[in-house]
């Protein structure tokens, strides 16, 4: 009984301490934002150059994806402070989008099948 009330007390205090913690907020030196900002500019210029130079095929697609992932990673990690959050939050937010990737795989297979069926049909095979 005493232990239970002590634990309750504990809970109250730890929640207050947490509130004080988050009141501090995400406080980081301006320098790091400026560096990330510069990198986002560089990476955007790179991905634009992929089109400007006119790269084609797998090189084009892999470079587009590479620059995209790097930019997205920098924005989420630094600008949105994800690297400084506790894993309980970051995993809760970052894991579910994997479901979208599974969906992409399913629909890629489906679209491929649709395309083959259509080509077959339009070629007179029906």
């Amino acid at each position: 009984m005493a232990e239970a009330s002590a634990r309750e007390h504990d809970t109250l205090i730890s929640d207050t301490a947490d509130a004080a913690e988050h009141a501090e907020g995400q406080h980081h030196p301006i320098r790091i934002y400026l560096i990330v900002w510069a990198w986002l500019f560089i990476l955007s210029a790179c991905s634009y150059l992929v089109d400007y130079i006119g790269l084609q095929g797998y090189l084009r697609w892999s470079l587009i994806l590479l620059f995209m992932v790097l930019k997205a990673g920098l924005i989420v990690a630094i600008f949105m402070h994800m690297v400084w959050e506790r894993w309980a939050l970051s995993w809760a937010i970052l894991l579910p989008p994997i479901a979208v990737l599974v969906f992409v795989a399913i629909m890629a297979v489906e679209a491929d099948h649709t395309a083959i069926t259509r080509m077959n049909f339009f070629a007179g095979g029906g």
Partner: protein, 239 residues
């Protein structure tokens, strides 16, 4: 950061890593230990928005992969003529840089807000809003140009009809997000300017006391809008 004061005055360290996830989620208290409800809810909202944009891009992928009609060349469709030279994707490139710049000023605004520098916070938020409005303006220009060239959700002069429907749906939804972002940026800027977050004035909508964390939460939304553009730029314009 992960320290907690217990009732007998000693501090105990919250475990980090995977053990930390298990401890936080099974603590029989709130799962997000040092994150306020407002920030957690913004993240949950952004996650749901991720699924929405994910499904839009997914629909676009499916349409583009399964059509037997050639897909219009985005590089030419979105090109602009500067004098006699045709520059591919020029407007889109400018829009990308404007949006990334606005993300940078938003990050600055969050930083200044936690330093309690009201003047700079307001200035940075207003700059962000200005660039957001510029982005929407350029998008309106792009839409008008394409519509005048005959692009419709059901047809276009260059190839697969789904090009128009994907384009209007994806960029339209993103532009709407930017527009609402600008409106909320202006509201937050006004609140910072009046000192609402110093006094903890209650908000007009939730009736809860505001504090400078609102600027960070606003920032999360704005960075997300920029994040979505990164994917649209890669998949719709460059691919």
């Amino acid at each position: 950061m992960a320290e907690t004061l217990t009732s007998n005055g000693t501090t105990h360290q919250r475990p980090d890593g995977l053990r930390g996830i298990a401890a936080d989620w099974s603590s029989d208290q709130r799962a997000f230990k040092n994150v306020s409800w407002g920030k957690a809810m913004m993240w949950v909202f952004l996650l749901s928005d991720t699924f929405i944009f994910g499904c839009f891009l997914l629909a676009y992928m499916t349409a583009r992969m399964s059509t037997t009609v050639p897909w219009p060349n985005a590089s030419e469709v979105f090109g602009l003529h500067v004098g006699d030279v045709s520059v591919p994707l020029l407007l889109i490139a400018i829009m990308t840089f404007v949006l990334i710049s606005s993300s940078g000023t938003m990050a600055m605004a969050v930083n200044f807000a936690y330093r309690r520098n009201r003047r700079m916070t307001v200035l940075m938020i207003l700059l962000t809003a200005l660039m957001g409005a510029t982005f929407v303006g350029m998008q309106a220009f792009e839409w008008s140009k394409l519509i005048s060239e005959g692009v419709r959700p059901w047809e276009n002069p260059w190839g697969a009809a789904q090009f128009g429907s994907s384009f209007f749906m994806i960029t339209g939804f993103h532009g709407t997000h930017v527009t609402f972002g600008v409106i909320f940026l202006l509201i937050v800027a006004r609140k910072v300017w009046r000192g609402d977050y110093d006094r903890g004035t209650r908000g007009f909508f939730t009736s809860r006391r505001g504090d400078y964390e609102h600027v960070e939460i606003m920032g999360l939304y704005w960075h997300f809008v920029d994040l979505v553009w990164v994917f649209i730029f890669a998949f719709f314009y460059l691919w």
